[in-house]
Symmetry: C2
């Protein structure tokens, strides 16, 4: 048994007017709860430190850049890193990253139990659009504010296991899980901000959207025999609702813990990394069963090429 | 609207002693029911014509070859093809194929409404093992009796849409759906024979196995915005139980019809191929969202290569 007591730190809404310091104060409350629960790892959502700003159409780049972090940790988050190190708890959190050379990414980091950042991931699958779209009920301008991640889907050895990360829309793409699965990933941690309403199909039912939120994670966990900790930022941000439904999923694809609220809420579960072994050695023993000679289109073309009429 | 009234023709058990003719007589009853229901397409399961013989360890190749068909249609199945053509119903069925040059495949074919075979698929993902395994509760010798399919995952234009096929274990692999999704597939038809008991983990719960049976299909349908018709051969074959749970799944990944029995049973559903358009043009608009520069491992390596210690 290689047990990781994982905590999914769902965050309730963050308003435009909320400061980083106010957010970190809430994160510290969840961290204290995680310490009390004996957690080894706390996972916070995508863009933990700010409101989900891609819903706002902003043309002034300086104004946009206020949502971004130039370094991590920084003055606002240093108390979080310090306390996690003091507690001996590993952290993962998402934030908007502005690099020294001016690149913008939707980033997530992972620390070890000493607070040292050992892994960085930059969101590969950016949803939405890059110009103002008057036909949508709300904007989703991730393709405007971010560049696609340039780091691939690496994995890291930490907490006596193999860990990977993903961000929000990445979880809907089976390629995300498979690239990490091919590196032996045992736990994937990810965060999301998912509007309760489909901006292009307002009548889409909320329970269908929650089903989609879960089924992609469950299938990815099962098909790669790994744990997934999937963490929401939820609730009403300045009149725009985000869904909750944070979950911890086992290597059978079964939900073993699920958030009940749309507020700050901690889920804790004991995740035995050895529970990944059976699936990896039988049904999903890739080396015996995969047939890459027939998968060429997956990397050979980006879009659909239908057969001739 | 491009409606295809699809019928999933689940088959109950077929014993070792049952003749092809007896099986085809049962298939004709289901075909008559499909005609009565106004179906455009009837999908029968994997290895429709025989018992699920990979559970038997046989060393005499002549005895093995008795489970295989040298041509399709043949004398036993001609009545099925003739009646389907008479009814104007397209067919898909699975069978063990022995080619003129001596190759063995786990094959499925698709006809148009005139009974003409317009597509052939050979199972790519063979589960199980190739030698007798005394540690299993029952044998699963697909790797012994079949070669991996050599035709990839083609799609075909028929019934005013784009159709693809898969067989049994293929449905657990996201690559299966994605390769067809990249060709614009609108409906995937597949059949399976899945033991009720995991031969390597007898204590695995039946409801967990049914959940796996369904979640992989639901995720594949949603992530590629296509319909899937997934059809079991079910029930007790010579003391060896196979699970039922045949389903028709819509492009949202939702089960819209599900078998209630483990016997011969027909499910019918009106499947609008235009219901695939919204997903293909928004969330899963591959050309805008996929990032093949980060998927290289999927086609670059078969098995797991973990990070250095």
């Amino acid at each position: 048994m290689r047990n990781v007591r994982a905590a999914a730190a769902q965050m309730g809404p963050i308003q435009k007017a909320d400061s980083r310091e106010a957010v970190v104060a809430r994160m510290l409350v969840l961290l204290d709860q995680a310490k009390e629960a004996g957690a080894d790892l706390v996972v916070y959502p995508e863009l933990t430190l700010t409101t989900f700003f891609p819903r706002w159409y902003v043309t002034d780049q300086d104004e946009v850049d206020q949502w971004f972090e130039r370094e991590m940790p920084n003055a606002a988050t240093e108390p979080l890193f310090d306390r996690a190190a003091d507690y001996g708890i590993a952290l993962s959190l998402g934030y908007a990253e502005l690099t020294e050379d001016g690149h913008h990414f939707n980033t997530q980091i992972l620390t070890d139990k000493t607070g040292k950042i050992i892994g960085k991931y930059r969101k590969v699958h950016l949803p939405g659009h890059d110009e103002y779209d008057p036909e949508r009920t709300h904007q989703h301008l991730e393709k405007r504010y971010f560049e696609p991640g340039d780091l691939g889907f690496p994995v890291w050895r930490v907490l006596d296991g193999i860990f990977g990360m993903a961000v929000c829309n990445d979880r809907r793409w089976p390629e995300t899980y498979r690239v990490m699965g091919l590196q032996g990933v045992e736990m994937i941690v990810l965060g999301y901000n998912t509007p309760t309403v489909n901006s292009q199909k307002a009548e889409e039912a909320g329970d269908l959207r929650m089903f989609h939120n879960h089924i992609v994670v469950q299938a990815g966990a099962y098909q790669n025999a790994c744990w997934v900790v999937s963490v929401a930022k939820a609730g009403d941000e300045d009149g725009h609702p985000l869904m909750g439904g944070s979950i911890i999923v086992n290597p059978d694809g079964v939900i073993v813990a699920q958030a009940k609220t749309e507020g700050d809420e901690l889920l804790v579960h004991d995740c035995d990394l050895d529970a990944t072994v059976f699936g990896k050695e039988t049904m999903f023993d890739f080396k015996r069963h995969r047939r890459i000679e027939h998968y060429g289109l997956i990397t050979g073309q980006t879009g659909v090429i239908p057969p001739a009429e």
